[in-house]
């Protein structure tokens, strides 16, 4: 048996990884993936990556943090970390989350109840490094030593840890081994929150040291604030793309679809995750068709970031978060809409509806509503002709953490599925007890080095088990199956993970959104909106 990683190992000099996983170590999967010897082998990190970047944590490397060249440089980085650590516990710098962070630091009973709730810990074969409390305990010890300036008595009471550059570098990576799904927090008897700890660590690294996953920062929030969307599409390009989508949708469905832009005084400003427009155009197409058919007065906005609901700051940086949230609210204010409706994107839902709620004051406080709620209203109102027989195939539903556990939108999407999908079946567990898809907190778009291997082997594994169990009675490829995931990020993870395990080719498991199923059932629409093709 491998020896478990100890907290003190975080400060171990050198860059030898603390943990290494073999396929045999991982949680077993049900058929058809029951044989670990048939899994993909992990791609090893390239030697030049190991030589250039800090990869001393485990088998992968999410940040590509350059190795400091001198001892002085290391000392400077440690000093920067320390100054960030102090700021994390001050009102001026971190009023946004100080109270929950402080309470979590000071009151964890170290009972480990939360561990069993974490899909990453379980899927890794219960590797100590991935225990939800591991990174929290490192931060806790640093907090008591360096923020509270505890002496010997404090270190006897709370434990001690050596602060050095290897620890800081490993901690930065470790903050990107958590999906921020907060399933662990749900089970904590005290109410402590290890997901929050990972979030706050990411903030410290980003806000003080400028260290963040480049997919979240450089090509994420920065690009969004520059071009208008983290996809890089500016307003003209997005309008063009939507025009093509309208044409395609009209042709495919036999119903003329036109997306309204910048309509002042519209009832609803709909904001998509712009990734949908490029990767899954049938989703915005279906939205447009449904809203028009239901007679809703809606619009898209071509303002900067007004057409892309993504807000990656949610996962790593309060300033970036607030900037993008403001842009969304300003776009709505400019048009004078009655409400903002968030299309199928979980983190965008939580970002704008819940987390930004306290800072959208005055005339920026424009009501936000979930598209799940709006769609349920439309479907149940009878405004659309719907024939459930058109969806006569097995369907299961993934609950995006941000939408469900963290926002409480649980039933509307189920009511729709129960009405239009006669062979709908739940995953177990589901609703607020769901498991993350494994792509949460930005992982779905992080594909550097061999990070996808980690994503599909470890963070997505529990969800994969759930999907296979949900379809256990119909795995045969003669039965097409639909995994409904009303969230762009989750879909990104499913697209990559189902392909990785060949589950479309071999078992005909397709993934897609909710609106596609609604349009697929609409009697006014030509049959076959869902094309049963891999994309």
């Amino acid at each position: 048996m491998k020896e478990a990683v100890k907290l003190g190992d975080m400060s171990r000099p050198g860059r030898t990884p603390l943990a290494h996983l073999e396929n045999e170590d991982l949680m077993r999967l049900p058929p058809p993936l029951e044989d670990p010897s048939k899994y993909h082998n992990w791609t090893a990190l390239a030697p030049h990556t190991r030589e250039k970047y800090e990869c001393g944590l485990d088998d992968t490397c999410a940040l590509n943090l350059p190795q400091p060249q001198t001892k002085e440089e290391e000392a400077q980085l440690v000093a920067k970390f320390l100054s960030g650590l102090e700021k994390l516990f001050t009102r001026e710098n971190n009023w946004t989350f100080l109270q929950p962070l402080l309470l979590t630091m000071e009151h964890c009973a170290k009972c480990q109840t939360c561990s069993e709730a974490c899909h990453i810990y379980e899927a890794s074969g219960r590797n100590e490094l991935y225990r939800p409390t591991f990174r929290s305990e490192v931060l806790r010890r640093l907090y008591f030593q360096y923020v509270k300036h505890g002496g010997l008595l404090s270190s006897l009471q709370h434990g001690a840890i050596q602060l050095n550059w290897p620890l800081v570098a490993r901690l930065a990576e470790l903050s990107y081994r958590c999906n921020l799904c907060r399933r662990c927090a749900q089970t904590c008897p005290i109410g402590a929150d290890n997901g929050l700890v990972a979030h706050e660590l990411r903030k410290l690294f980003s806000q003080e040291m400028g260290i963040a996953a480049k997919e979240l920062h450089d090509t994420g929030s920065m690009l969004q604030l520059k071009a208008g969307s983290s996809t890089g599409m500016n307003a003209e390009v997005v309008k063009d793309n939507i025009r093509f989508i309208d044409e395609d949708t009209s042709e495919k469905t036999g119903i003329q679809v036109e997306t309204p832009w910048d309509v002042e005084g519209a009832d609803i400003l709909l904001i998509h995750n712009a990734g949908e427009i490029l990767a899954w155009p049938e989703n915005p197409g279906a939205f447009a068709l449904i809203l028009n058919a239901a007679g809703v007065k809606w619009t898209l906005s071509s303002e900067l970031a007004g057409y892309d609901s993504i807000n990656y700051g949610l996962w790593y940086d309060d300033a970036q978060f607030a900037r993008v949230a403001l842009k969304h609210a300003q776009a709505a204010r400019k048009l004078g809409v009655r409400k903002i409706v968030l299309a199928e994107c979980g983190h965008a839902h939580k970002a704008l509806s819940v987390i930004a709620d306290r800072v959208l004051l005055g005339d920026l406080s424009i009501p936000r509503e979930s598209s799940m709620t709006l769609l349920r209203d439309i479907v149940m109102s009878g405004r659309l002709g719907l024939d459930p027989d058109r969806n006569d195939f097995p369907v299961t539903l993934h609950d995006p953490c941000n939408l469900v556990r963290l926002m409480g939108v649980v039933e509307p999407q189920r009511e729709i599925l129960r009405k239009i999908c006669p062979r709908f079946r739940e995953m177990e567990p589901h609703g607020v007890d769901n498991y993350c898809c494994g792509g949460g907190s930005g992982f779905a778009i992080m594909s550097g080095n061999n990070f996808p291997d980690w994503r599909f082997h470890v963070s997505g594994r529990k969800k994969l088990e759930q999907i296979l169990n949900a379809f256990a009675d119909c795995l045969d490829p003669s039965v097409p199956k639909y995994l409904c995931a009303p969230c762009s990020n989750c879909k990104g993870q499913f697209r990559d993970m189902l392909a990785y395990y060949n589950l479309w080719e071999k078992n005909r498991i397709l993934y897609g959104g909710l609106v596609e199923l609604i349009v697929n059932a609409m009697t006014d629409v030509r049959p076959g909106y869902i094309e049963w093709e891999w994309h």
Partner: protein
């Protein structure tokens, strides 16, 4: 000797009260954070609370009156406080030990309350306490006291055993965790032994309580009982100085964080407070933040780093 013991008991209680209040005030005075609720939120309307839903499931939710279902909160809070429901559900092995320990402590807290009533009654209304009422109280505090001490000691011993033997806990156990549990066992063990072995001349619980209230130093307190009282008093004063004061933290973690789903638009007070926080001046050093100690959070949020200095 007796006077010193009284002094230590008074000090222990005083430290407990003052430190608990200070801790609660410190947490309460922290800035209100951004919303960070976690569903299920039990004060949602019953039909939604059942599946963990929120008011976001209601079309145009902001136009509907918001009903807060306090009964739903109580339905979760009471079993949680009394029976540690979450631990029972998610960590049954630990719950057997932890529940016995905590319930023992609740019984001991009840014993102190009963003794206080009995002692005050004896001083102020001696005739009432001389008869049946006094006998009932005596039976009650003796039973709760002994049961409480035995349960808390057994529970603490079980927890200590786990701390020392369970590999899952090893990484996270500091010397202080061992000390804390050993402290409970020693203090409650000495108290129980001192009480049971005090001999015919030793004071009963009521006599001691009355003595404490009257500062009657003529009461002789035998050695083991003295040690138990001193250790118990020190323990009482020590608890709120440590993470064991989670009875305070839990209130904030549940009510202010997990269950705080109050929409900002419906609270002028929240709006006022957050408008204030936006005037704070951060000093984060990363370039894209653009903080210089003079600019406020509002300024920073309104700045686009891709076109400004932070580019």
């Amino acid at each position: 000797m007796t006077a010193s013991i009284y002094g230590i008991i008074y000090a222990g209680v005083l430290v407990f009260v003052v430190a608990s209040v200070l801790r609660a005030v410190r947490y309460a005075k922290l800035p209100a954070h951004l919303r960070w609720e976690l569903y299920p939120v039990p004060h949602e309307e019953a039909e939604r609370a059942r599946h963990g839903g929120s008011y976001f499931e209601v079309p145009d939710w902001w136009t509907k009156p918001r009903k807060v279902n306090f009964a739903g909160e109580l339905k979760v809070m009471i079993p949680e406080m009394l029976f540690l429901k979450a631990l029972r559900e998610f960590n049954r092995k630990l719950w057997y030990r932890s529940f016995v320990f905590h319930f023992g402590l609740y019984l001991l807290a009840g014993t102190i309350a009963l003794l206080a009533v009995a002692a005050l009654g004896t001083i102020l209304l001696p005739s009432l306490l001389a008869g049946f009422v006094g006998a009932v109280l005596h039976t009650l505090y003796t039973a709760t006291g002994l049961c409480g001490a035995v349960m808390a000691i057994i529970g603490a011993a079980g927890l200590l055993h786990d701390r020392l033997s369970d590999p899952n806990l090893k990484n996270y156990t500091a010397p202080g965790d061992i000390f804390n549990l050993a402290f409970f066992i020693a203090a409650l063990g000495a108290l129980a032994a001192g009480y049971l072995l005090r001999g015919p001349g030793g004071p009963g619980a009521l006599a001691l309580a009355c003595g404490l209230l009257r500062f009657d130093t003529a009461i002789p307190v035998p050695g083991v009982l003295s040690a138990g009282l001193v250790l118990g008093a020190l323990l009482v004063g020590y608890i709120p100085l440590t993470h064991m004061s989670h009875f305070i933290a839990k209130y904030f973690l549940y009510h202010n964080i997990r269950w705080d789903d109050l929409p900002t638009a419906q609270s002028a007070e929240i709006q006022r407070r957050f408008a204030g926080y936006l005037t704070f001046r951060p000093t984060w050093a990363a370039r894209h933040i653009g903080a210089d100690g003079a600019r406020t959070w509002a300024d920073i949020a309104a700045t686009n780093p891709s076109v400004g200095a932070g580019k």
